[in-house]
Symmetry: C2
Subunit: 360 residues, 2 copies
């Protein structure tokens, strides 16, 4: 069949030009006579790929020089442990904000290493809004403050960087990094698994301010030790080289597309028109407070939930796939990351109208 519009929450769509280039270079990268996945990570060719990826990421996000950029194996879950292991620095407490399943997971893993103080939780509201800043209880003794910039399951997203009384600010940006410009200098640490906006699963990016690394807990596995990884250029061991290469291709594509300001404008258009289509009719609904709605993940329900299996079936037949909601909440969800073309969102909107016309 032809390629479909894939609304999966992650792993998710990759830009077609990236896939085409990966295909064309699969057996022979340039004049090396080998695939990127066959290259020694310490050879000149792969080091060039790795360095270009870091330079492009620094360029796209305007990362200041006093921040280290790490490319680490695994995804955000490894960082759920690595963050407290590296950032407690002699303290015993860390402050977390809960806005959905992913913050809850980060918080639970941190509790293995730290006393976690909860700044606030959106749970009582069914995670349909981010608790307002004036309801947060910040812990002045915390080593850092952690929040999840975008929750993929309930579809809530921060649209500004929170102010946290001078605590080092740590954010899981797995699902919205590179979807818009970012004030990196306001953060102590940013981490993100690649498989939403950056590339295939199996590699994560960590951006960390220099002065925060170097005092890991004694039990920290070397692979999760940010200082050791920084000293070794993220090659303490053999890194996931092919994933790194693909991530680099996505970064090149982002630059070709005009950078993060251009991506943000496109992502805004996509999200705004999709929410407008859902709000237009009582046949569809999205429960999230408008100011917190995610530009990346749009959960929605039908007024007649018994039609949802039919919706999914007909959508799939129309080339619109993976519109199921997360198994923990059910319903429907459209994930519309960077690589989802505007035409894919337009096709979904047309399908929403047609499905309502037939079944509404």
């Amino acid at each position: 069949m032809a390629r479909v519009y894939n609304f999966s929450a992650g792993p998710s769509m990759l830009p077609e030009p990236v896939l085409e280039r990966a295909r064309d270079e699969l057996l022979e990268f340039r004049d090396t006579g080998m695939s990127v996945m066959e290259m020694s990570h310490r050879g000149r060719d792969f080091v060039g790929i790795a360095e270009k990826a870091e330079a492009d990421l620094r360029d796209l996000l305007a990362i200041p020089a006093n921040y280290r950029v790490l490319f680490l194996p695994g995804g955000a879950t490894a960082q759920f442990a690595a963050v407290p292991m590296n950032l407690l620095r002699g303290k015993t407490r860390a402050c977390y904000l809960s806005t959905g399943l992913w913050s809850e997971k980060a918080l639970a893993e941190a509790q293995r290493y730290a006393t976690v103080t909860l700044a606030a939780s959106g749970k009582a509201d069914g995670f349909t809004r981010i608790p307002p800043r004036d309801e947060w209880h910040l812990d002045p003794e915390a080593a850092y403050f952690h929040y999840t910039a975008n929750e993929t399951i309930n579809g809530v997203e921060f649209h500004t960087v929170p102010e946290v009384d001078g605590l080092p600010l740590v954010s899981d940006m797995s699902s919205n990094l590179l979807s818009r410009p970012l004030e990196v200098e306001r953060f102590g640490l940013i981490y993100a698994g690649a498989q939403k906006n950056m590339g295939p699963a199996g590699i994560a990016v960590v951006i960390v301010r220099d002065d925060l690394v170097g005092q890991p807990l004694p039990s920290t596995p070397s692979l999760l030790d940010y200082r050791k990884q920084a000293e070794q250029g993220s090659m303490l061991n053999t890194p996931p080289t092919y994933n790194w290469y693909l991530l680099g291709l996505v970064l090149e594509w982002l630059k070709d597309e005009g950078g993060l300001a251009a991506l943000e404008a496109r992502n805004l258009r996509k999200a705004n028109k999709l929410y407008a289509a859902l709000d237009r009719s009582a046949f569809y609904s999205n429960p999230v407070e408008p100011s917190c709605r995610s530009r990346m993940n749009v959960p929605f329900r039908l007024a007649a939930p018994e039609l949802e299996p039919l919706f999914l079936k007909e959508a799939k037949a129309a080339g619109l796939v993976n519109l199921e909601g997360h198994r923990s909440v059910g319903g429907l969800r459209a994930s519309i990351y960077n690589a989802m073309p505007e035409a894919g969102v337009d096709a979904l909107i047309a399908f929403l109208a047609e499905f309502e016309r037939q079944h509404g």
Copy 2:
């Protein structure tokens, strides 16, 4: 240029049919309308890929039913920590054998979690032989015994499974798993990064006997907790899906080639003829005791070491690349894993003779 014979120690050559299939399926896997790297890891298509890889691995290695097979992010270095974190089970000591740089690395990481007793070390011999079994001091209080089945740098390899007085036997087989049949039932745990004989970097295989999992150290990151990963089918988090798929393609190729007995026969032929070529003349030398010589990694020197840069240059011109020795020992090295065709070894042998004729 054309594809070369790549003697890199890892990441290393992959079978050309695997690369061709990956290329052909890159934009669309079967009738899914998407690339494998765009698939949800929980969707039917990817789960099928993952289950087939496990079934093929179990089949190739005849893995007994009471062993769990895990596919984990990262490589062997993550397991250097995970092994003691999971296998100490209330004990405080672990027994390690040192046969080269990789056993030394495993041992150093284990010291963060356990009191390590050294069974024996090949260091005094420059790691040119494996200390004979009757020189080992086994620690009866150790939670397990660890050895490195093949050392890529010095080129020593175990050709039989050691007997260790009933201690759970743990082995890093990153560089020789799947190169020959194996008595899995003699082991407590086997682990291996994929990037030598199994696939691209970024994924590791752990084969562990059921009764050894379930008592991790409290500080064990969830991602490294074997029991949690076993319960979740190695999907505690988003796994490195594309790496897993490529690993699966390599497993299918191994079966197509006739399985591990056929591979062993080919690998023996390759290694034997290469060592014979090196032993034939005083112009070349390999320092390893013949009974311990690795079938996977063949380090060698020239009698005139000043000619080694020229050797590398002329070899590269002849399409034989990455013959440098590891940076810690210098010299030359040919890694001839499963995916190195016999024709590649023949070409290297012909080059050895021609280089000696011109410069000997």
